[in-house]
């Protein structure tokens, strides 16, 4: 009788372990699935840091909205003392890439010209913030 109870308890323990792992695996699975769908529907533009003190070569893709700035709350951290906390925003709108300055202190330059209102970007455009230059690829 005791043996039966012990075997039962053992199986209950293993079953509970399984339930736990299964719950988490399922949650992770649905999380990853959502991610795949998002990237497939919107092929984003790639931005590369071509000139920077510490971040040359860093690249990221814009598939939705990306805020760049000196704050750790920004999506992309910008290691440049001339940058503002939340300096600029790249948005992907109907397949096109739009750049907006978020009221930064030192401004944002596209191909050498300071921007006031949001502008559309195309491949090869150079975006400059302080000493940092990013290029659209």
């Amino acid at each position: 009788m005791t043996e039966f109870i012990l075997a039962l308890l053992k199986l209950i323990f293993i079953a509970l372990l399984f339930l736990f792992v299964w719950q988490i695996a399922r949650a992770i699975g649905s999380h990853l699935g959502g991610f795949e769908r998002r990237t497939k529907s919107k092929p984003g533009s790639e931005i590369v840091f071509v000139r920077s003190d510490n971040q040359s070569g860093l690249d990221f893709t814009v598939d939705d909205v990306v805020v760049v700035g000196r704050s750790d709350q920004a999506d992309i951290y910008l290691d440049d003392s001339y940058a503002s906390e939340f300096h600029l925003r790249f948005s992907s709108i109907d397949g096109g890439l739009v750049l907006q300055d978020l009221g930064s202190t030192n401004g944002t330059y596209v191909n050498g010209r300071r921007i006031g209102s949001p502008v559309g970007l195309s491949k090869g455009d150079a975006v400059q913030v302080g000493k940092t230059v990013m290029e659209v690829r």
Binding site: A7, I14, F18, Q23, Q55, D72
Partner: protein, 431 residues
């Protein structure tokens, strides 16, 4: 998964720990009492506090890692309790301390973010070097901090403060510092390392001077093996380096060069060191050397074999026959008492942690965070693979700990910090 679901799973993991300890008590025909309540209390305090810290300082962080770590710690703690009561009560303290340091990590990174690690990379490298050399301090000298030789390896440092003596393995923390340094270093050098200028057959090589860091890493990890006689740590350091070079550049060349250097190093180590030959002998023919070098591995295999499909049940096997079961061979002990099903579930938990970590790395947009997440996850995964592979005789045994399950303070603390860093990265990247 929401934060509340994460909290519920943490409570479930703490209940599992209590259930495990209760099963050990039932099997030993003892009364169920204080230990069950204490185990539940410790688990819920440690992981609950970590959960609260994530809510406070990294609210967008991934919710999957803490419950998985908690469940691994629960199973590990139940098995350690079954093997050695004294170690189990120490392990409870280490879980509390580890969670505390994890919380401290989250708090420390809350104001500046992981970018602070990027800025102070050379300080981290220096700190890593100092920590790595600490175990080589003399064993007898006037200062209260001394090196310590345990089982022929110089891995331990003893800090004697007069009223208390603390022992720790700085190697575990060094691993994290080196990964953070490499992420920062490679994030900056990526462009130069990716550029290819020379072509030899199917392989394209960057400028030869870009290979210098690889050689430095190779010599450093070889040094660790020669002076500290630590196979596991040196393999882990070198592999982490190669993996991160590959992650940063996507160039196969680094894998080929790294693999070649590894082979040269392995053959050299095998021909020069008796302890490497011993390990290899025990791996290839454990039963022929049963009385000597193969004893531990053979008993690990007997244990897992007697566990069969669903195990003997917690507290009903004889895992204490394995040498160093709570530290090196915890996986074999679990294999005996929870069987193949339990072992596969444990493997699944590690696989899930690794997939979550790599998912964070893949979806990170900032190169530094991407490399940091990839490097941390890689070392965690490789460490689990090497020790489990060593126990089931897939590889020669390297004396490293199984993250979150093995008894051992330094390892637990380092892995809590590692998980906290991954959560922080996923918070910053909103993935």
């Amino acid at each position: 998964m929401t934060r509340n679901a994460e909290g519920a799973l943490i409570v479930a993991a703490a209940l599992m720990a209590a259930f495990g300890v209760a099963l050990v008590n039932i099997a030993g025909q003892e009364s169920i009492g204080d230990d069950v309540a204490l185990t539940f209390f410790v688990m819920i305090t440690a992981f609950g506090a970590l959960h609260a810290a994530v809510r406070r300082w990294a609210p967008r962080g991934t919710p999957y890692l803490i419950p998985l770590a908690a469940l691994l710690a629960s199973v590990g703690l139940s098995e350690i309790y079954r093997l050695n009561r004294e170690m189990a009560s120490l392990q409870k303290w280490w879980i509390l301390i580890g969670a505390g340091l994890g919380i401290l990590t989250l708090w420390g990174l809350s104001s500046v973010g992981t970018q602070i690690l990027r800025r102070y990379r050379y300080i981290m490298l220096l700190l890593a070097m100092v920590l790595l050399l600490l175990p080589l301090l003399p064993q007898q000298w006037p200062l209260p901090i001394r090196g310590l030789a345990v089982n022929g390896s110089r891995l331990w440092v003893s800090l004697n403060l007069g009223f208390i003596e603390m022992r720790f393995q700085p190697g575990e923390i060094v691993k994290l510092l080196i990964v953070a340094f490499l992420a920062s270093f490679l994030a900056e050098r990526q462009a130069a390392l990716t550029m290819r200028t020379r072509k030899v057959g199917p392989f394209e090589f960057p400028e030869p001077r870009q290979m210098i860091p690889i050689l430095v890493a190779w010599f450093a990890s070889f040094g660790v093996m020669v002076y500290q006689r630590d196979l596991g740590a040196s393999l882990l350091l070198f592999s982490a380096f190669i993996a991160m070079m590959y992650a940063a550049t996507g160039r196969n060349t680094y894998l080929v060069v790294g693999g070649g250097l590894f082979t040269v190093g392995a053959v050299a180590a095998w021909s020069a060191f008796s302890h490497v030959q011993t390990r290899l002998e025990a791996w290839l023919a454990p039963f022929d050397n049963y009385e000597t070098t193969g004893y531990q591995i053979s008993n690990g295999i007997f244990a897992m074999a007697s566990g069969s499909l669903s195990g003997t049940g917690l507290g009903l096997g004889r895992p204490s026959l394995i040498a160093f079961a709570p530290t090196d061979f915890i996986f074999a002990a679990v294999g005996e008492e929870l069987g193949l099903v339990g072992s596969v579930l444990i493997l699944a938990m590690y696989a899930l942690i690794i997939s979550v970590g790599m998912g964070i790395a893949l979806r990170s947009r900032d190169l530094f965070r991407k490399l940091l997440a990839a490097g941390l996850t890689f070392t965690f995964g490789l460490q689990s693979l090497l020790i489990i592979g060593g126990i089931v005789r897939l590889f020669p045994l390297t004396g490293i700990t199984l993250p979150f399950m093995s008894y051992g303070g330094s390892s637990l603390v380092a892995n809590f910090v590692l998980i906290a860093m991954l959560i922080r990265i996923s918070h910053e990247e909103r993935v």
